[in-house]
Point group: C2
Chain length 485, copies 2
Amino acid sequence: MFKDATLIEVNDAMHRSSTAFNLYKKYSIKQRALLMRTIAKEIEALGDELIQTTMRETNLPEARLKGERGRTIFQLNSYADACEKGDWLEARICLPIPDKAPPRPDIRKMLVPIGPVVVFGSSNFPYAYSTAGGDTASALAAGCSVVVKAHPAHPETSSMVASAIDKALKSLNMPKDIFIHLHGASFAIGEALVKNENTKAVGFTGSYSGGMALFNWANQRKEPIPVFAEMGSVNPVYLFSEELSNNPSGYGNMLADSITLGVGQFCTNPGIIVGLDSPSLDQFIDTLSEKISSNVTAKMLHTGIAQSYAQKAKRAISQKGVKVISSADNMPAADKSAAAVVSVTASNFLANPILHEEVFGPFSVVVICNDYAEMKRVAEVMEGQLTSTIIATPNDVQANQDIIDVVSSKCGRMIMNGVPTGVEVCLAMQHGGPFPASTDSRFTSVGADAIKRFARPISFQNFPDQLLPEELKSENPLLINRIVE
Amino acid sequence: MFKDATLIEVNDAMHRSSTAFNLYKKYSIKQRALLMRTIAKEIEALGDELIQTTMRETNLPEARLKGERGRTIFQLNSYADACEKGDWLEARICLPIPDKAPPRPDIRKMLVPIGPVVVFGSSNFPYAYSTAGGDTASALAAGCSVVVKAHPAHPETSSMVASAIDKALKSLNMPKDIFIHLHGASFAIGEALVKNENTKAVGFTGSYSGGMALFNWANQRKEPIPVFAEMGSVNPVYLFSEELSNNPSGYGNMLADSITLGVGQFCTNPGIIVGLDSPSLDQFIDTLSEKISSNVTAKMLHTGIAQSYAQKAKRAISQKGVKVISSADNMPAADKSAAAVVSVTASNFLANPILHEEVFGPFSVVVICNDYAEMKRVAEVMEGQLTSTIIATPNDVQANQDIIDVVSSKCGRMIMNGVPTGVEVCLAMQHGGPFPASTDSRFTSVGADAIKRFARPISFQNFPDQLLPEELKSENPLLINRIVE
């Protein structure tokens, strides 16, 4: 039904996007915010038809999709607010100092849009990290034109959302090529988009192999460009003894809910749980096992994901010393996506890198340590993570500061006595972490700071006020926060 | 006299740097600032011996070196102030919203140091962009340990400055491995430093080929790391007619001074000047030619640079249609580094990429356009630049907005009616530009924002106040600027 774009169409799209960028970058932050709010309204106006279409394409249930649509609309509106508020512009004004030797000229700096951005739709968030999702919203806020490659698992959903964006642009009389939508199931389309000379940045959420292909293509260009690829994470949870013993069953229930939320298809799904061999851990495992075993089997996003889940879970289960702790007749198979939890001793875990890998789906490994020294070694072998969670009292933290230091050095967000799933859209959110969680740990893909991914600073030296951008004029007509020295 | 580090010594240095990092990252921003100020004092205390040593090693004159030492000390002190002030931390606090669905937890974010930073000393700034220069100062402010590879052209200078840093660390009782100094003339040492798993970021100022080697090694690692390489620039100057005609000789003198400043060995040296064929341009060229021809020949940094300058200048001069406009007996030769200015028509320039390349030294090409359409095409073929300069009245700007747009899209700093040389150390300075001027246009290597190159954000979710870093505690004990929502 949806044909892949040809390479000629890709080149044409990027050329048109570049032309549109040169117009769009001159739109004020108020006009950009208006565009984003209008897109939000047009998506809302797609109504139930959008939800029904996506249910057909993704197996995701209605409530989840309505929630995600709400999140997408909230993102567009909140990044529109942030765009207008202008903190992300990092406006700085250094006034002249004529009697300094040599005299300091008037120098003013702000962020400007980087150029056309290519966004790859994700499979697990058909709205919030796809066509009009976080990457598109932040690129539009930054003043960049956007070319979206639809995820082939939900092309119709993607086309419907694209039509809402087109409608918003049309109703505001803005150049239609500010947003361009392409289909492409083949790798070649992705490669052509990243390598096109008009492309200036890339946003991606998906697998390690997919993200790294984009990253390598981008760095091999004559002009390398930034790639913001979020590539998954096992999101380790560390159980410290004093806090765990306060409520082992409570934490067992809490983690079971987090593991099975959305059939485990969130990038912040807790895939590894690390605790000390103890009666509290036994009780935690009992509750976790019971809750996981009684979890209702649900379909995953598409057959490919379900098959990959079954294979990876089976492979993990077959490793030396791995014990299934959820009931055996609830094991994943090619046609089922049942949740599963297994346990392994720290020594077996440390010796086997296969167990450190993400099993995308409702799966978690409980790593049982003899003591905190072993827990520290487990923390040390972890790769970069989106999140790490500690279940701990203040005493636990103070007594194990060395472990906490290791844990915090390997993640973008640290949660205390909670679960990693549930990524709040707010300014203080960091979503992204040290490699390989993401390709650039210095930026977030959630929250208003995500806008900064698609901008670069420029200084204006010795410009008369009338020729400065509004953001930097002395009287501050946009009323944004600026640092003046 | 100075032996290259062995590969074993490189590995040992990076291991020790990593251990020291884990201690240093816990030092408060006040302690870091104190270290930087102490280093500044110890460099000052090296006195005249340092200046004499560097004069011997670099051919740079006393006044220039005293000025650069002053700049280095100013950088250390001003980044220390910025470190303490804490704006670079980007501290954000989102307070909990319990009645939101789902409830918003308490989330707080700040930047934390990225890890051990490797700094490659530059040849043209033996103080300000070498051992204790801008890269080292910003890494120390961010909380990173630093390993410096001395530039082989001034190893003794580098060792003296390193000893001042060692002394500062010792006097403050800080771990000595926060700063490690290595020698290395061979490429293999640079490669080993960039590829070492303990290295987390790289700072470099130098040639395109050098910078790209580091960039490629860094991206080929199992864990890619950021490289901040500043790789030179031709810093084009665009002469618009109304402003030029106001004072053609004045601008001729101004540009001649800028071209010959420091024997043309600044990364912001104006290497290309673009104007319209006109009596004003003729007068500008006459003054420029006269001033350049009377410029006193001076030695460049070292024989290699002087030879390379002579070769590249000769090659440029031999291109089709190139006319020497400074007097011929003042031409560069292997043993002389005389300034030279040539002219060429825009059509010859556009047809010949060799003329777009940087000739590192006191050399500039005047590109003569028939009209503004041709000037726009010249602007369009320029690569990314550290700076672009426009000589223009407000009328010129308004009448040629399309050219200004192209110019601004290709540079990190835009100067109006001035010269690009002279990089002010202040918060609003952007030093870095679109590729290939630098490998990451989103960051600056001059001014307090340079600190942000060596840091990444981390969020703390649901942490009790007592366990948060000082920077994020509710009562704001460090009195830093924060955004609270």
